[in-house]
Amino acid sequence: MLMCRDLARIASDYIDNELGTAQKLSVKMHLMMCRDCRSFIGNLRASTDLIQAHSSYKPDPELVRRIDEQVAQALNAKKN
Protein backbone atom coordinates (compact mmCIF):
# COMPACT_ATOMS: atom_id res chain seq x y z
CA MET A 1 0.00 0.00 0.00
CA LEU A 2 1.21 3.47 -0.91
CA MET A 3 2.21 5.53 2.15
CA CYS A 4 2.35 9.33 2.38
CA ARG A 5 6.16 9.31 2.12
CA ASP A 6 6.01 7.19 -1.06
CA LEU A 7 3.49 9.57 -2.55
CA ALA A 8 5.68 12.58 -1.68
CA ARG A 9 8.53 10.94 -3.63
CA ILE A 10 6.51 10.71 -6.85
CA ALA A 11 4.29 13.77 -6.43
CA SER A 12 5.86 15.72 -9.32
CA ASP A 13 5.48 12.73 -11.63
CA TYR A 14 1.80 12.65 -10.72
CA ILE A 15 1.38 16.40 -11.33
CA ASP A 16 3.15 16.16 -14.70
CA ASN A 17 1.18 13.06 -15.67
CA GLU A 18 4.32 10.97 -15.96
CA LEU A 19 3.12 7.95 -13.94
CA GLY A 20 2.02 4.62 -15.38
CA THR A 21 -1.64 3.64 -15.08
CA ALA A 22 -1.24 1.38 -12.03
CA GLN A 23 0.82 3.91 -10.07
CA LYS A 24 -1.50 6.74 -11.00
CA LEU A 25 -4.45 4.71 -9.75
CA SER A 26 -2.78 3.97 -6.41
CA VAL A 27 -1.97 7.70 -5.98
CA LYS A 28 -5.60 8.58 -6.70
CA MET A 29 -6.83 5.95 -4.20
CA HIS A 30 -4.48 7.33 -1.56
CA LEU A 31 -5.54 10.92 -2.26
CA MET A 32 -9.20 9.98 -1.79
CA MET A 33 -8.43 8.92 1.77
CA CYS A 34 -5.65 11.33 2.79
CA ARG A 35 -6.31 15.04 3.31
CA ASP A 36 -2.66 15.85 4.08
CA CYS A 37 -1.47 14.39 0.80
CA ARG A 38 -4.23 16.20 -1.10
CA SER A 39 -2.94 19.36 0.51
CA PHE A 40 0.67 18.48 -0.41
CA ILE A 41 -0.19 17.82 -4.05
CA GLY A 42 -2.20 21.06 -4.19
CA ASN A 43 0.68 22.99 -2.63
CA LEU A 44 3.30 21.49 -4.90
CA ARG A 45 1.13 22.31 -7.91
CA ALA A 46 0.67 25.89 -6.64
CA SER A 47 4.45 26.21 -6.08
CA THR A 48 4.98 25.12 -9.68
CA ASP A 49 2.46 27.72 -10.88
CA LEU A 50 4.32 30.34 -8.84
CA ILE A 51 7.59 29.54 -10.58
CA GLN A 52 5.87 29.87 -13.94
CA ALA A 53 4.21 33.15 -12.95
CA HIS A 54 7.44 34.58 -11.56
CA SER A 55 8.30 37.29 -14.00
CA SER A 56 11.73 38.42 -12.90
CA TYR A 57 13.81 36.21 -15.15
CA LYS A 58 15.60 39.29 -16.39
CA PRO A 59 19.07 39.02 -17.85
CA ASP A 60 21.90 40.68 -15.98
CA PRO A 61 22.10 44.24 -17.45
CA GLU A 62 25.91 44.25 -17.39
CA LEU A 63 26.03 40.97 -19.34
CA VAL A 64 23.48 42.30 -21.84
CA ARG A 65 25.55 45.45 -22.32
CA ARG A 66 28.68 43.40 -23.04
CA ILE A 67 26.81 41.15 -25.49
CA ASP A 68 25.28 44.16 -27.30
CA GLU A 69 28.74 45.68 -27.64
CA GLN A 70 30.35 42.50 -28.97
CA VAL A 71 27.50 41.82 -31.39
CA ALA A 72 27.60 45.42 -32.69
CA GLN A 73 31.36 45.13 -33.25
CA ALA A 74 31.00 41.81 -35.06
CA LEU A 75 28.15 43.16 -37.22
CA ASN A 76 30.19 46.23 -38.15
CA ALA A 77 33.26 44.12 -38.97
CA LYS A 78 31.08 42.04 -41.29
CA LYS A 79 29.72 45.07 -43.11
CA ASN A 80 33.19 46.54 -43.72
Binding site: R5, N43, I51, S56, P59, V64, I67, Q70
Partner: protein, 206 residues
Protein backbone atom coordinates in the same frame (compact mmCIF):
# COMPACT_ATOMS: atom_id res chain seq x y z
CA UNK B 1 7.75 35.08 -19.13
CA UNK B 2 8.29 37.09 -22.27
CA UNK B 3 9.33 35.14 -25.36
CA UNK B 4 8.66 35.38 -29.04
CA UNK B 5 5.79 32.95 -28.68
CA UNK B 6 3.87 33.67 -31.84
CA UNK B 7 5.18 31.95 -34.90
CA UNK B 8 4.96 35.16 -36.93
CA UNK B 9 6.83 37.23 -34.27
CA UNK B 10 9.59 34.66 -34.30
CA UNK B 11 9.75 34.57 -38.10
CA UNK B 12 10.03 38.36 -38.22
CA UNK B 13 12.79 38.28 -35.59
CA UNK B 14 14.68 35.56 -37.50
CA UNK B 15 14.44 37.65 -40.70
CA UNK B 16 15.87 40.60 -38.80
CA UNK B 17 18.74 38.53 -37.40
CA UNK B 18 19.50 37.15 -40.87
CA UNK B 19 19.67 40.65 -42.30
CA UNK B 20 22.11 41.65 -39.53
CA UNK B 21 19.78 44.17 -37.85
CA UNK B 22 21.43 45.41 -34.67
CA UNK B 23 18.03 46.32 -33.18
CA UNK B 24 16.76 42.76 -33.71
CA UNK B 25 19.89 41.31 -32.14
CA UNK B 26 19.33 43.55 -29.12
CA UNK B 27 15.74 42.32 -28.89
CA UNK B 28 16.77 38.67 -29.21
CA UNK B 29 19.59 39.08 -26.67
CA UNK B 30 17.08 40.34 -24.09
CA UNK B 31 14.56 37.61 -24.86
CA UNK B 32 16.84 34.61 -24.98
CA UNK B 33 19.87 35.34 -22.78
CA UNK B 34 18.20 34.26 -19.48
CA UNK B 35 17.41 30.80 -20.90
CA UNK B 36 20.84 30.52 -22.48
CA UNK B 37 22.42 31.37 -19.12
CA UNK B 38 20.30 28.68 -17.44
CA UNK B 39 21.71 26.14 -19.91
CA UNK B 40 25.30 27.35 -19.55
CA UNK B 41 25.16 27.45 -15.74
CA UNK B 42 24.12 23.79 -15.67
CA UNK B 43 27.56 22.92 -17.02
CA UNK B 44 29.83 25.81 -16.06
CA UNK B 45 30.72 28.27 -13.33
CA UNK B 46 29.27 31.77 -13.59
CA UNK B 47 32.21 33.47 -15.35
CA UNK B 48 32.68 30.67 -17.94
CA UNK B 49 28.92 30.55 -18.51
CA UNK B 50 28.77 34.28 -19.27
CA UNK B 51 31.75 34.00 -21.60
CA UNK B 52 30.14 31.05 -23.41
CA UNK B 53 26.81 32.86 -23.88
CA UNK B 54 28.62 35.98 -25.15
CA UNK B 55 30.57 33.91 -27.69
CA UNK B 56 27.38 32.16 -28.77
CA UNK B 57 25.71 35.42 -29.71
CA UNK B 58 28.65 36.33 -31.95
CA UNK B 59 28.47 32.86 -33.54
CA UNK B 60 24.74 33.35 -34.17
CA UNK B 61 25.47 36.25 -36.57
CA UNK B 62 26.72 33.74 -39.17
CA UNK B 63 24.98 30.59 -37.95
CA UNK B 64 21.49 32.10 -38.26
CA UNK B 65 21.88 31.98 -42.07
CA UNK B 66 21.86 28.18 -41.80
CA UNK B 67 19.01 27.99 -39.28
CA UNK B 68 16.38 25.81 -40.94
CA UNK B 69 13.61 26.25 -38.41
CA UNK B 70 13.25 22.54 -37.64
CA UNK B 71 13.14 23.52 -33.98
CA UNK B 72 12.12 26.89 -32.56
CA UNK B 73 14.71 29.65 -32.26
CA UNK B 74 14.85 29.22 -28.46
CA UNK B 75 15.61 25.48 -28.66
CA UNK B 76 18.18 26.09 -31.40
CA UNK B 77 19.97 28.74 -29.29
CA UNK B 78 19.87 26.54 -26.20
CA UNK B 79 21.43 23.66 -28.13
CA UNK B 80 24.24 25.87 -29.40
CA UNK B 81 24.99 26.96 -25.83
CA UNK B 82 24.81 23.37 -24.54
CA UNK B 83 27.27 22.12 -27.19
CA UNK B 84 29.71 24.91 -26.47
CA UNK B 85 29.43 24.45 -22.72
CA UNK B 86 30.00 20.69 -23.07
CA UNK B 87 33.10 21.33 -25.21
CA UNK B 88 34.37 23.73 -22.57
CA UNK B 89 33.85 21.06 -19.89
CA UNK B 90 35.64 18.42 -21.95
CA UNK B 91 38.61 20.70 -22.60
CA UNK B 92 38.90 21.30 -18.88
CA UNK B 93 38.37 17.59 -18.20
CA UNK B 94 35.49 18.26 -15.84
CA UNK B 95 32.05 16.76 -15.37
CA UNK B 96 28.71 17.95 -14.11
CA UNK B 97 28.07 16.56 -10.66
CA UNK B 98 24.51 16.15 -9.46
CA UNK B 99 22.81 13.95 -6.93
CA UNK B 100 20.09 11.87 -8.56
CA UNK B 101 19.92 9.24 -5.82
CA UNK B 102 16.99 10.49 -3.74
CA UNK B 103 13.92 12.30 -5.00
CA UNK B 104 12.72 13.36 -1.54
CA UNK B 105 14.19 16.59 -0.14
CA UNK B 106 15.92 15.83 3.23
CA UNK B 107 13.96 18.56 5.02
CA UNK B 108 10.69 17.15 3.74
CA UNK B 109 11.81 13.57 4.47
CA UNK B 110 12.11 14.53 8.17
CA UNK B 111 8.44 15.38 8.27
CA UNK B 112 7.30 11.76 8.02
CA UNK B 113 6.77 9.36 10.92
CA UNK B 114 8.52 5.95 10.85
CA UNK B 115 5.27 4.38 9.58
CA UNK B 116 5.47 6.57 6.44
CA UNK B 117 2.60 8.91 7.33
CA UNK B 118 2.93 12.66 7.70
CA UNK B 119 4.19 13.68 11.17
CA UNK B 120 4.25 17.37 10.20
CA UNK B 121 1.77 17.75 7.36
CA UNK B 122 1.81 20.70 4.95
CA UNK B 123 0.44 23.80 6.62
CA UNK B 124 0.22 25.79 3.47
CA UNK B 125 -3.13 26.81 2.07
CA UNK B 126 -3.16 28.65 -1.21
CA UNK B 127 -6.18 30.87 -1.45
CA UNK B 128 -4.99 33.13 -4.24
CA UNK B 129 -3.85 32.21 -7.69
CA UNK B 130 -0.18 32.34 -8.59
CA UNK B 131 -0.42 35.63 -10.50
CA UNK B 132 -1.97 37.45 -7.49
CA UNK B 133 0.58 35.90 -5.12
CA UNK B 134 3.44 37.14 -7.28
CA UNK B 135 2.12 40.69 -6.89
CA UNK B 136 3.41 40.39 -3.31
CA UNK B 137 6.86 41.92 -3.83
CA UNK B 138 8.32 40.32 -0.69
CA UNK B 139 7.28 36.83 -1.83
CA UNK B 140 8.67 37.50 -5.28
CA UNK B 141 12.02 38.64 -3.78
CA UNK B 142 12.05 35.58 -1.52
CA UNK B 143 11.44 33.32 -4.51
CA UNK B 144 14.37 34.99 -6.28
CA UNK B 145 16.64 34.32 -3.30
CA UNK B 146 15.61 30.68 -3.06
CA UNK B 147 15.91 30.08 -6.78
CA UNK B 148 19.43 31.53 -6.56
CA UNK B 149 20.27 29.13 -3.69
CA UNK B 150 19.20 25.98 -5.56
CA UNK B 151 22.02 23.77 -6.87
CA UNK B 152 22.75 24.87 -10.45
CA UNK B 153 21.63 21.55 -11.89
CA UNK B 154 18.21 21.79 -10.20
CA UNK B 155 17.77 25.45 -11.05
CA UNK B 156 18.64 24.97 -14.72
CA UNK B 157 16.24 22.03 -15.03
CA UNK B 158 13.49 24.02 -13.33
CA UNK B 159 14.09 27.14 -15.42
CA UNK B 160 14.09 25.30 -18.73
CA UNK B 161 11.05 23.19 -17.89
CA UNK B 162 8.87 25.69 -16.03
CA UNK B 163 9.95 29.18 -17.02
CA UNK B 164 11.07 28.51 -20.58
CA UNK B 165 8.42 25.83 -21.12
CA UNK B 166 10.63 23.29 -22.86
CA UNK B 167 9.28 19.77 -23.25
CA UNK B 168 10.96 17.06 -21.16
CA UNK B 169 12.70 15.56 -24.22
CA UNK B 170 14.24 18.91 -25.10
CA UNK B 171 15.46 19.51 -21.54
CA UNK B 172 16.99 16.00 -21.46
CA UNK B 173 18.77 16.70 -24.74
CA UNK B 174 20.02 20.13 -23.79
CA UNK B 175 21.18 19.12 -20.31
CA UNK B 176 22.33 15.63 -21.30
CA UNK B 177 20.33 13.90 -18.56
CA UNK B 178 18.12 10.83 -18.65
CA UNK B 179 14.36 11.31 -18.29
CA UNK B 180 14.41 9.75 -14.81
CA UNK B 181 17.24 11.99 -13.61
CA UNK B 182 15.43 15.05 -14.95
CA UNK B 183 12.40 13.99 -12.89
CA UNK B 184 14.60 13.93 -9.76
CA UNK B 185 16.06 17.39 -10.46
CA UNK B 186 12.62 18.91 -11.04
CA UNK B 187 11.04 17.29 -8.01
CA UNK B 188 13.87 18.30 -5.68
CA UNK B 189 13.70 21.90 -6.91
CA UNK B 190 9.91 22.09 -6.58
CA UNK B 191 10.02 20.74 -3.01
CA UNK B 192 12.51 23.47 -2.07
CA UNK B 193 10.19 26.12 -3.49
CA UNK B 194 7.21 24.55 -1.70
CA UNK B 195 9.12 24.64 1.63
CA UNK B 196 10.10 28.24 1.02
CA UNK B 197 6.54 29.39 0.29
CA UNK B 198 5.27 27.46 3.32
CA UNK B 199 7.74 29.22 5.63
CA UNK B 200 6.95 32.56 4.03
CA UNK B 201 3.20 32.11 4.46
CA UNK B 202 3.60 30.96 8.07
CA UNK B 203 6.11 33.49 9.32
CA UNK B 204 6.04 36.31 6.75
CA UNK B 205 9.80 35.90 6.57
CA UNK B 206 11.99 34.56 3.85
Amino acid sequence: METATHQSDESILIQGLRSGSEADFQKAVRLYTPGMMAVARYYLDSASAEETVQDCWVTVIDAIQKFEGRSGLKTWLHRIVANRAKNHLRKNKREVSADFSESLDPELANRFAPNGRWATPPSLRFEEDAESLMENGALSDCLDQHLARLPETQRSALMLYEAHQHKSDDVCNILDVSASNLRVLLHRARQKIFLMVETFQETGEC
